[in-house]
């Protein structure tokens, strides 16, 4: 590359943190280092960055960045990314949104309920959001459905110069939730192919104690509910009944609170001695498992457009992959993977496994097609060059800023006819601190009003409004209750 090498500061988790985005970022930094003087701002100051890339305390990163410096954020939906979310508020740049849902991140990284509620109000049809938001504010109820209905990506979209996602599905989902204008700067860069040194299948099997002639199925990553390991268990049970005799290793950690994988396996006598959970694996051990397997099963339902590092690893190893025919996976070329329909998934998966167990040539053909696809679309230099285009092309794009200056003062005449709809309408479009005067003719009228309607203020305020302070005023033209509100900020 010719010309000056600009500094690029990348806010991201890094290994040894046990999450796929940390591995992705470590690989991506190697590619970006060809274009920029990179530094990685990581909560773990002692994390492992590639050779030549210093790790920086995120709290001091702004001193390196200066005004208008190049910044990249790697954001996922778990608490390990809380510092990235906070950093993108202070130092806007390009954000890679690995998972368009961000509710889990907000819930676990100390974000205020008002920010969550404000984000919910932006991310779904108003009536739906209002209902769920009231459940959350009044009763503390947050269901699993919330994670699908509300993605909380609005703030990230507003505060980023560009947003990178890994699939058209993810981009389309954001567009459907947030509208064309708010997502005009969303670009798709495919997941990257890790530059792996893949061991030979026999060598990897020898290390893992897998018989050379066994038919080995792998699943990988955190055993979340959406990975449909329940379907995998059932399908393997069926496949066993049909004489396929597969072995199965889940190459990842169990999250028993989300899906009790070991317990479910133990319920199936046919899988006894055939299935095991390896737990969290180092990068080398995970590569061994992928290289050793005959088929990688990588399912998602429901899908919110996630991408998969283990799938990229399987492509690199030319392993035959079965994926759900939904979300981002549906975009993968037919032939490069085998797509599993959502309807009738269990018997179809069992049929596929039985067929593949008996047809090594078919497995090899699919695996090779996957590898060729990945080399063409997901190679590190290609992905890094695409990132550079996006970073350079978005430098001058303005980003939204939090509200500045004194909070706006609104006035509503309070009386028996004042309802929450009028208050919501008055507060619409306002974010951050705000003052609302519920005006009355005199203090006697205020007393009457509050006696007639106990809990008046709470009932009037919309869910995203947090009451910071209430003060009774008895001034000319300013008699009533002055409410200091925090309306959150979600872009």
């Amino acid at each position: 590359m010719s010309g000056p090498r600009h500094p690029l500061t990348v806010f991201t988790p890094l290994p040894p943190e046990r999450n796929g985005i940390a591995d992705y970022a470590a690989t991506l930094l190697r590619g970006l280092a060809a274009h920029y003087d990179c530094a990685a701002a990581c909560k773990d100051w002692l994390a492992g960055a590639p050779e030549g890339v210093p790790v920086l305390d995120p709290a001091l990163a702004h001193r390196r960045i200066g005004t208008g410096g190049r910044v990249l954020h790697q954001l996922g939906n778990n608490p390990g990314h809380g510092f990235v979310l906070r950093a993108l508020r202070l130092s806007p740049g390009v954000t890679t949104l690995h998972d368009p849902g961000l509710l889990h991140l907000h819930e676990t990284a100390g974000e205020s309920r008002e920010t969550i509620l404000a984000g919910m109000m932006r991310a779904a049809p108003a009536r739906l959001a209002e209902t769920y938001a009231r459940h959350l504010r009044r009763h503390g109820i947050s269901t699993c459905a919330n994670h699908l209905l509300f993605d909380l990506a609005g703030e990230v979209l507003a505060r980023s110069r560009a947003v990178v996602v890994h699939s058209r599905f993810a981009a389309g989902r954001l567009r459907a939730m947030h509208g064309a204008e708010a997502t005009a700067h969303v670009v798709v860069i495919p997941h990257l192919l890790p530059p792996l040194s893949v061991p030979a299948r026999g060598e990897a099997r020898a290390r893992l104690g897998i018989p050379q002639d066994a038919f080995l199925v792998c699943t990988a990553g955190f055993a979340t509910r959406a990975k449909r390991l329940d379907w995998v268990i059932e399908a393997l049970d069926l496949a066993c009944a049909e004489g396929a005799a597969p072995l199965w290793i889940h190459a990842g950690a169990e999250r028993a609170e989300e899906f009790p994988l070991s317990a479910r396996i133990a319920e199936r006598p046919a899988l006894r001695g055939r299935a095991r959970v390896a737990g969290w694996l180092t990068e080398a051990a995970l590569t061994d498992h992928i290289a050793a397997c005959d088929v990688l099963v990588n399912l998602r339902f429901p899908s919110s457009g996630e991408s998969s590092g283990s799938l990229a690893r399987a492509f690199a190893a030319a392993v035959c992959c079965i994926v759900s025919d939904t979300g981002a996976y549906a975009e993968l070329p037919r032939g490069a993977v085998l797509h599993l329909p959502l309807a009738g998934a269990v018997p179809e998966l069992a049929r596929m496994l039985v067929a593949l167990a008996a047809d090594p040539a078919r497995r090899a053909a699919v695996g090779e097609a996957g590898r060729r696809y990945a080399l063409a679309e997901m190679a590190l230099p290609t992905v890094a060059a695409r990132y550079r285009e996006v970073i350079e092309g978005s430098l001058s794009r303005p980003v939204a800023s939090p509200p500045a200056g004194p909070p706006p003062l609104l006035r509503l005449e309070a009386g028996p006819g004042l309802g929450c709809g009028a208050v919501e309408a008055a507060l619409r479009g306002i974010v951050g601190p705000c003052r609302l005067l519920l005006a009355v003719p005199d203090l006697a009228a205020l007393a009457d009003l509050t006696l007639d309607q106990p809990g008046l203020v709470t009932a009037l305020l919309p869910p995203r409004a947090r009451l910071v302070r209430a003060k009774v005023l008895a001034e000319p033209e300013r008699t009533g209750v002055l409410l200091d509100l925090d309306l959150g900020w979600a872009g």
Partner: protein, 341 residues
């Protein structure tokens, strides 16, 4: 052997004149004021480039208008606690700030004298009526006049003959002559004690105005060693220093606000209690980046983490310590920091 001339300040104006002072002469300024005003308590609102902190022991620091800082810097400074971890920096806690501005004895203690460093004279209005004793104000040269107040002004020209910083000490008018004389005496004594060649001199220009120059003839200026005990470390942990130690507890990281150091080479020494060191030494960070350092045995019961640093200036230096996982969960204890020229 020092030489102390006593010309008028105007006679020794150097070729390199810095009307707007940075931290280059901060050690000399602090030493001069400490000699002149024993028992003084200082508040330095110069962040991100403080002048008295950390050179004047016990100085509280902060800034008058955090909202004017870039958001990242404001967030960073908002993390820190001073007086061993008991107080936020000035500017980040309206209640605590109000007590300081009002001259509350609970904050200022029994200080014989109160000195406030302000980046602009107009900010003194916030401290109006906060006596007795009426505070002295120190401002960088050309920082303007105090609003609505009659003040004497003592112009201080400090540093070296190669590089001069100007500060103005704004004092009650009737104390101008007394304080000038005390400063002049202290400057002379300081030069004698420091050794080498100095130019020290000044005069009363009028009953309410004086000027004093204290300039080293060595281009490196005045750079004494600095020792910051645990009790006065400014850090970002939710703990307080006690019994001469700052114990990190289970925290894996610690940030220390060091202030703005004169831009030259310093030997940094962090004193760690040997009995709290685990199997691995902490890793030193300077301005957020890993910095080469070495561990060596210190005085009794202490281990020293030492490094050579060359601060760039322009903002308050931040040190970091990261404890590797092998260091164990108990955390470290620090007894203080030294900066050796």
């Amino acid at each position: 052997m020092s030489t102390c001339d006593r010309p008028g300040a105007g006679a020794i104006l150097p070729s390199r004149w810095r009307g707007k002072a940075d931290a280059g002469a901060a050690p000399l300024l602090a030493a001069l004021l400490a000699r002149t005003l024993p028992g003084m308590q200082a508040l330095d609102l110069g962040l991100p480039v403080p002048r008295l902190f950390p050179w004047l022991p016990g100085t509280l620091c902060g800034l008058a208008d955090p909202a004017a800082l870039p958001a990242g810097e404001r967030t960073l400074l908002g993390r820190f606690r001073q007086r061993g971890g008991t107080r936020p920096l000035f500017g980040f806690d309206p209640a605590a700030d109000a007590a300081l501005q009002a001259g509350a004895p609970s904050v200022w203690g029994e200080a014989a004298e109160r000195l406030v460093f302000l980046p602009a004279a107009a900010l003194a209005a916030g401290f109006a009526g906060s006596g007795p004793p009426e505070p002295l104000f120190l401002v960088p040269g050309e920082a303007g006049e105090l609003p609505d107040a009659e003040r004497g002004r003592i112009i201080l020209l400090l540093g070296s003959t190669a590089q001069v910083d100007r500060y103005d000490l704004l004092v009650p008018p009737d104390r101008t002559a007394t304080l000038f004389e005390a400063l002049r005496m202290a400057g002379g004594a300081l030069a004698e004690a420091a050794g080498g060649r100095w130019q020290v001199g000044g005069r009363m220009i009028s009953p309410r105005m004086a000027s004093l120059a204290v300039l080293a003839e060595a281009s490196a200026g005045f750079a004494p060693p600095l020792s910051i005990p645990a009790e006065t470390l400014v850090h970002d942990l939710p703990v307080q220093s006690a019994e001469g130690r700052l114990a990190t507890g289970p925290a894996a990281r610690l940030r220390l606000l060091l202030g703005a150091l004169p831009p030259r080479e310093w030997r940094l020494r962090i004193s760690l209690c040997t009995d709290t060191l685990g199997l691995a030494a902490p890793v030193l960070f300077l301005e957020g980046m890993r910095h080469p350092a070495r561990i060596r045995p210190g005085s009794e019961g202490l281990t020293w983490l030492e490094a050579v640093i060359r601060p760039a200036g322009g903002h308050a230096l931040v040190l970091g310590l990261a404890m590797p996982p092998e260091a164990g969960p108990g955390g470290l204890a620090l007894t203080g920091i030294e900066l050796l020229p």
